[in-house]
Symmetry: D2
Subunit: 376 residues, 4 copies
């Protein structure tokens, strides 16, 4: 990598959400990326510092509405799509011409033809929404209540769980980054299921997340006064990350399986912890589980099994792309308790997206993601 390398020109669609802001925060430190476009329909025309004062003085372009973007001159190499669910599908379909005739809904994109010029056959899309995560579009419809708008693209989308789909990500044109809860759950469970160390039945994922996972949208439930000094579960047995977790665990185990998944809202900004209860397969021990995980992630820069006796805590990964996994024997025989932590906005979202970008552009995977966690 020489200093003279031409920079990767990146766009961030939906830059006014927390995920978009986090992409900016991380990418401005990336030695090989320049941010060429940031959009936010409702904040169009504003400087990013008026929306996010912590992102002041970074030399970024002003926010635009997607419909006003002059795509041809941008010469984009990569587009991060941090838009709401459903919106992403249509935008990305337009960008990637999947229909063969470039037609997209004019209600949303008024000048679809422009997309053609943006592509030059090579633009890559990294989607942070849920729109391309579910391989079966019927499952998508069932959980999101809408028909999928780009089923052809769904077929080529690569599920962006970096450590488990690295090769496919490298070759991908469209990467669908996992949800924050699935990221933590899958990193923990896939190796164990692949190796047959745990039973397919009876997996229980009790998840706890900081409030930034809910985004910056105005909901009474996310007011400081409602969240502070309190904890509660939500979307019990109904959270949209459930099918995503089950899809990938089923692939890993070679069998359709269901999990019990309960997310909780914790009075903290960032961080996600999952306490996962599993049944061992016959003859396996907790040491086997630990060894299996250590082996699976031995060469990984961001996923680590903590030392015996250490308990992962979200403060150990705050502000970083790290994922820490702990393995504990239950008192109940043949059961184990797994504890996994990530920063939901980084490894659970924007950090993993950049990790994928690094792979897609043949860069060192850790670029712009090396910062040690912020504590306290």
């Amino acid at each position: 990598m020489t200093q003279s390398r031409k920079k990767i020109r990146a766009a961030i669609l939906g830059a006014s959400g927390y995920t978009g802001a986090e992409l900016i925060r991380l990418l401005v430190r990336h030695p090989h990326v320049e941010i060429a476009l940031i959009t936010a329909d409702r904040k169009a025309g504003q400087a990013i510092e008026s929306v996010y004062p912590h992102l002041t003085g970074l030399g970024l372009p002003d926010l635009m509405a997607i419909k006003d973007v002059e795509w041809p001159g941008l010469e984009l190499d990569v587009i991060f799509c941090a838009l709401p669910h459903a919106t992403s599908q249509e935008i990305i379909k337009g960008i990637l011409h999947d229909t063969g005739h470039g037609f997209i809904d004019e209600m949303i994109i008024e000048r679809p033809a422009d997309y053609a010029n943006a592509i030059k056959g090579s633009v890559k899309v990294i989607d942070l929404s849920a729109d391309f995560r579910l391989r079966d579009t019927d499952v998508y419809t069932r959980w999101y209540g809408e028909y999928h708008q780009a089923p052809e693209l769904q077929k080529e989308a690569v599920y962006g769980l970096t450590e488990h789909y690295r090769d496919a990500i490298k070759a991908a044109r469209l990467v669908a980054c996992p949800g924050c809860y699935p990221t933590a759950a899958l990193l923990t469970l896939i190796p164990l299921l692949k190796d047959g160390l745990i039973q397919k039945d009876g997996i229980i994922i009790d998840a706890k997340s900081g409030v930034s996972g809910a985004g910056r949208s105005l909901k009474e439930a996310n007011l400081f006064t409602e969240v502070s000094e309190a904890i509660h579960p939500y979307a019990i047995a109904a959270h949209r990350h459930s099918p995503e977790i089950e899809q990938e665990l089923s692939r890993a185990s070679g069998d359709d399986l269901m999990v019990t998944f309960t997310p909780h809202l914790v009075p903290m900004n960032r961080g996600e912890l999952e306490t996962i209860y599993v049944n061992l397969t016959d003859g396996q021990t907790v040491e086997d589980l630990r060894a299996g995980l250590i082996n699976a992630y031995a060469d990984e820069p961001f996923v680590h099994v903590v030392a015996e006796g250490v308990v992962p805590a979200t403060r150990h990964v705050r502000g970083s792309n790290q994922c820490l996994i702990g393995v504990f024997a239950d008192r109940v025989p043949n059961r184990a308790i797994l504890v996994v932590v990530i920063d939901n906005l980084i490894k659970g979202s924007s950090g993993q997206a950049i990790q994928n970008m690094n792979i897609m552009f043949d860069l060192p995977e850790t670029l712009s993601l090396e910062q040690a966690p912020l504590f306290p």
Copy 2:
């Protein structure tokens, strides 16, 4: 109850902990109680307001060291014992003369004979420590690492889970109030096991607690900077409340059972939430569970099953003696998810202790516990 009733003279031993402070806060509003004695060995001689400025102007006596108490003149009717584990046993043994010769460890209590005068055959003791909760003193030794100092007293101690041992509490001389985690778990699970609605195997209790549960002792782990903006489990498969939960669930189910129990520390002062995963017995439905719980607590002032669709949250009970239980179907067939919340310092400790006192003195059970929760 007339205004002229003679007041119950109460002592609070160990008043400098959060539990002791909470007893004071609640009891000073009790129409039939006067606080005659408060002790705190390391704060002896101080006014309570110098230890707890929020308890200013309540007309309380100064804190004393236990060894300096002049018991004879106190004419106590009830003693709340909010001392550390192990300490409680010796003190209470001395108070209740259980050995028949009034002998207690002089290292701790220098003038044991004085206790005799305090009793007048009738003083009642409400212990908030773990010292008399475990019916089997061998189990006590296994979990607390010490021999029980008053096994005879253990036999007469009544487990103070009010709603399930009300009659025994009424007749008791010594009540051992449950731990905070057991209180929430047992209120939820005992009726279901008694009615055979859920299986004895596979019960998983994922608990989340505010920091006040750790008391006011100086530990790095409880510093603001360590706890804030973070969550982590602790004492995984090793928490001392496990045997207490199992003891009572085994009694309810008629069979020895084990539970999986994982507590987590949440960045909030008060509140405790347990997410409990259970397997239904054949033919039972979630509606049956709900009906069973509603039926069990139909006449209870402090335990309520929330309406369908409502999710219990700790903020709904903060500062009150309420316990709220929600019942939810899992997506996985034949499984249910129970959510229970209490204020760990009130229903989980001092409030339940006072509720028991009211019963022991034939008073309306809700006296001094009627305050609606504090929100926000």
Copy 3:
């Protein structure tokens, strides 16, 4: 006061805000009040527990829209008005018939005539909004950007700073409860100015408030993620409580004065602390200030000067109607630093309103306000 006293029938208009909820929480414990009506236009038809689950099981009527209230049968004795600014004026004008012909804006109140029946010549109104706090309606217009809708009523409104207007409150038909910031500032400064102990110039009030002061309305600035782990001032030199503070301090000092006032938003639910910087008048000492304040509040149940060396903290008054004041010498000669704390939702709002009600109905002033602070 005998048990057989007929209960005071109270209405709470605007019960879906935090102030309204706090009125309910406190009043349900009041031995001489029954809540006959609670309104919330946007939540009309709902039970209060669906809006505030912590207020479950209190036997309250469902929420109504004001326009649908059948006033005649209610036989109200007191109306607490916890409505937004400007709205209060019109509603109260209708209720109190101030115009002489009962005419009120039909856009807001569709059936004004009904009010007549509610009154029976004696209904009392306690307004928690800012609508009747400013004695000069021109000042109101300047700060609130609207003409006052009930200038005649303004003339009879009594400023409800309990400790300083007790007699007028006793005789009042309409009490305008002070804002939270003015309550703390005025309780501290009025005695000092009246006694000529401090200079009229150079008073600086640096205020810090919990987030509940902003109400339950949906603003990005009040999201957990925006407030948590942060502090910032707001409305610098432009907060609407400034003219209210200056009005009352000018009366106390006999001279028009201005103050510097800067509020800050603190990541906590409740509590308000003001650090007040003053210049002593010639010959006065900090001891004189302390003595003056002690003397002023010697007989007050809710306002206390803390002991020398004690620093007031919001946690000392959380959940209570207490106000604590500390007096400190500055290092800079002839200057003093005053520190005052209240719970903004109680002494700063609903608690003071109930204290006023107790006075207006000749009840012991502390009724339903006796609860000791909640800590931790």
Copy 4:
């Protein structure tokens, strides 16, 4: 700067405090620094990850006790001294041989002779304690209650307020980094006093700090349960940062001056905000103040005057080395309100220390300090 540059070998004495941990967190990302030594007497022999799990996997040496350090082989270029007050003096005296005979207290340093080998005539010391901040050792004694142990060294120590002592820092052997409160106050006030824009009298600094400023030491006052949901001032008119602020402001104004300074503890981990009240000099306006500050910091990478209408908040600088200053007119004529924010652990401590190191070693000043703030 070429890649082949020999790395600066750095030691961090006192690495187990939050300041030391933050030095590590930032320095491990520095392209030209290698951490050769970390010490912590009470944690000697431990890996840093057992003390700070967030600093796992960084390839650092284990913690040592200072007395066991084998200085000769270390070939240190720079020593960051993050030790408690008073301790620093003796250690640094030993390192820098200031007495001419290398004698230091053997109670603390058992092998003083070893220091000689560490120096090679050129080791630089950056002290983060208060030990060398006060130019007048009598003032030190008055505020810290002890005689200064290295008055000769005090004479050569450079006060490390980077933006105002850059040239002296460049040439210094010993830099005394400012306290967190002084950093924010001085950056705001020095230019205004130097330019004669504000009066020397009547400066009031109302400061609010996160809890990390109190370090990791075990004090009841810093427990989560004591701090959360609360605010309070401390060390009123008695904080040790007062003389430091006054020393530098007196130099800037050419006159001895005193300030009123009141720090408050805010329930957040990081961040510091100061609200500063000043009187304008005759003929000056708020616009003049703003212009003066903009001019003073026009070329600075880390100090910025925010746009008119923007209010600085600690969340805008969290996790960064930024300092933001806002200028506001008071309603009271001829007065202004200044608001300044920093991250107390970075610009207020470890970040500024590294900024100074960059200057001392002729490196780009922003190295390892470029990370944008972490929000939310």
